[in-house]
Symmetry: C2
Subunit: 80 residues, 2 copies
């Protein structure tokens, strides 16, 4: 079972990488792009579990290692 997990910096928290990228885009003359935010996409395969068991395990791993719950919001979906 394939999992696609998105970790996005919470909207109330400043995203310096997004700000820097937005400034670079504007320097290229594209002023119509705004509110650039940069996060992580983590993809992996998880085997030998039901979706419910996998969700429990992924939620545990989010707390432990996958994201920073103070700074990032997480969402994920199963594929296949």
């Amino acid at each position: 079972m394939k999992v696609c997990l998105l970790a996005k910096i919470k909207t109330e928290i400043l995203d310096p990488q997004g700000k820097a990228l937005e400034a670079s885009i504007h320097r290229l003359g594209v002023e119509t792009i705004r509110n650039v935010r940069v996060g992580k996409v983590i993809e992996f395969e998880i085997e030998g579990m039901t979706k419910e068991q996998a969700s429990t395990k992924i939620n545990e791993l989010c707390e432990q290692i996958l994201i920073n719950p103070l700074l990032e919001d997480v969402s994920y979906e199963f594929k296949d």
Copy 2:
């Protein structure tokens, strides 16, 4: 119009960050997770264009600054 763009390291290219994360997950005792890959999610708003115009502009920006086309595959979708 909101855009969610995913930049993923091409499957044939080694992803050291994904490998390191996978090793950490295994050290936490979760051996059932494999093929971890880490990429970027870039979200932004783009205004004053049709979806076709926006796609053209985003494709240009992908070549110029958003991703490294030698290393990364890109996909994006419009929201709203």
